[in-house]
């Protein structure tokens, strides 16, 4: 499908889909997010074949529903459709539903932002003070990841921590930092 559609933005492809009689533009748009959709299906369904079937079924669902709703942003919308489809499948099979990634990321969104941007002077001072209070492994992982720009794999290779532990140290470190900053903030208030 090389008719310039690859160059179009999501919004342009959505608009074109509304005008044409085939799902060509929708196919290009869906294909753009195919690796992510398949990955999400893998995460929820835990089986490659089930995930592949789900990807095709979700495409049919998207093709059927997209004309009925005014979709402003395709990316978050298709994520929601994908997640809901997988959850529905899990409920049907009465299987355990994994934690919601959005909620988990939402817990530490502020800290991630502060660490990413290092914030203003006051916030930075607060962060540095709290970093001193973190357990060594958590502090080392946060410094390497956010301030030294190392990947999980780099950190695991350097520290010889298992990869899963690196992720865990980072997650726990962020949560502790958040608690610490909030506590200090209340104290200073």
């Amino acid at each position: 499908m090389d008719n310039g559609e690859e160059q179009l933005s999501d919004a342009e492809l959505l608009a074109r889909h509304g005008q044409e009689r085939t799902d060509g533009s929708l196919g290009v748009l869906y294909g753009r997010y195919l690796p992510m959709i398949y990955g999400v299906c893998l995460r929820y369904l835990r089986n490659a074949d089930d995930a592949a079937d789900a990807v095709m079924a979700i495409f049919e669902e998207v093709a059927a529903r997209i004309g009925r709703y005014e979709v402003q942003e395709f990316r978050p919308w298709v994520y929601t459709v994908t997640k809901n489809y997988c959850l529905q499948q899990l409920r049907r099979r009465q299987r355990k539903i994994p934690f919601d990634m959005s909620e988990r990321l939402g817990e530490c969104r502020d800290v991630t932002l502060w660490l990413d941007e290092k914030g203003d002077g006051d916030r930075l001072a607060q962060l540095e003070a709290c970093m001193e209070k973190l357990p060594e492994k958590q502090r080392a992982c946060i410094v390497d990841f956010f301030w030294n720009g190392k990947s999980y794999a780099d950190i695991a290779a350097e520290t010889r921590y298992p990869l899963a532990s690196v992720k865990s140290f980072l997650q726990n470190g962020k949560r502790n930092l958040k608690l610490c900053v909030e506590k200090n903030g209340h104290e200073t208030d």
Binding site: D23, G27, Y38, G39, L42, R46, A48, R75, Y152, A157
Partner: protein, 317 residues
């Protein structure tokens, strides 16, 4: 860095770090990466296969979404097509019968090679036939009221066969190789003559007999013209022994008459060797036509002809 690169192993360095930081803000990306990390397998092949399937699916028409509006639009479209089809058929029937009535009576009679001389002359005498140079006049206009009634009765009795025959003989032509055999009456004509005979049996009206004879003669004249056109068009007559054998063993329709019937078919052969755009030139019945088309499409391959149309004769024996 692209997600695909990361998934398939490029997980070191600042680019990987950038993507990992993104996952901390983007649950969609985080879910996806966790999915790949959680399930072992050849995901790259799976993704390639899925991509192909999505492309193939996306190329199809919009799927029915289950929306009632779309369903009604579809039904409306079908109804409109049917209406147009019916109107077209009626128009075509009217047109073909109109053409027939507009023909001069003298000219077809002159071409009546098939009819016995006594019958032709009887017709001419009954009608007080005008010479060939007489100015053409609509046939119905020249009929007496009882003659027109007989004509109308006859037409209603043999409407289906007549319509098909008229369509076929007016729009199609007979192959050059068949031209020599044209002296033998086609099944359709025999049907017409039978129908005419029946009509006569019911209402033995000399006027109706005249009308039937005139029309039969005029159809024969038209067929002769069409045959000449076919010769001029130079359509190839193709014989495929494999198909003949296949047809002989697979056709299920049995003809009520028990007489062998030849059906002339015109078509193109696509690049896969399958006949397409098939037209039945000598119509016998709806069932035989459908069967011939079905067996042509499902039977042995033919030599591709590109855009050229060819003809063949299918024999019911």
């Amino acid at each position: 860095m692209k997600l695909i690169d990361y998934i398939f192993g490029s997980r070191r360095g600042r680019e990987a770090n950038r993507l990992e930081r993104e996952t901390m803000r983007d649950p969609f990306l985080a879910d996806a990466i966790e999915g790949y990390d959680a399930v072992y397998g050849n995901h790259s092949d799976k993704l390639a296969e899925l991509s192909q399937r999505i492309d193939a699916r996306a190329a199809r028409q919009h799927k029915e979404s289950g929306s009632r509006n779309r369903l009604w639009f579809g039904l409306g479209g079908v109804a409109a097509v049917l209406l147009v089809g019916v109107a077209g058929t009626v128009w075509w029937m009217e047109r073909s019968s109109g053409r027939r009535t507009a023909e001069p009576i003298g000219e077809p009679l002159a071409m009546a090679e098939e009819l016995p001389a006594e019958e032709v002359s009887a017709v001419a005498l009954r009608k007080g036939a005008a010479p060939a140079e007489e100015e053409p006049a609509p046939r119905l206009a020249r009929m007496e009221p009882e003659e027109a009634a007989a004509e109308s009765s006859l037409r209603s009795e043999s409407a289906a066969a007549e319509t098909a025959a008229a369509v076929e003989t007016e729009t199609q032509s007979v192959p050059a190789a068949e031209a020599e055999e044209a002296s033998e009456p086609e099944p359709i004509e025999s049907e017409l003559l039978e129908a005419a005979a029946e009509a006569d049996a019911v209402a033995p009206d000399p006027a109706a007999e005249t009308a039937v004879a005139t029309r039969t003669v005029s159809m024969q004249a038209r067929e002769i013209e069409m045959e000449e056109a076919a010769v001029a068009g130079g359509l190839r007559m193709v014989h495929n022994p494999e198909f003949d054998a296949f047809f002989a063993t697979n056709h299920k329709e049995r003809l009520s008459s028990g007489e062998p019937v030849e059906i002339v078919v015109e078509f193109r052969v696509n690049d896969h060797g399958v006949p397409s755009a098939i037209r039945i030139l000598s119509w016998y019945s709806q069932e035989t036509s459908s069967e011939v088309i079905m067996l042509l499409v499902t039977g042995p391959r033919w030599e591709p002809t590109g855009d050229e149309r060819i003809r063949t004769v299918v024999r019911y024996e």
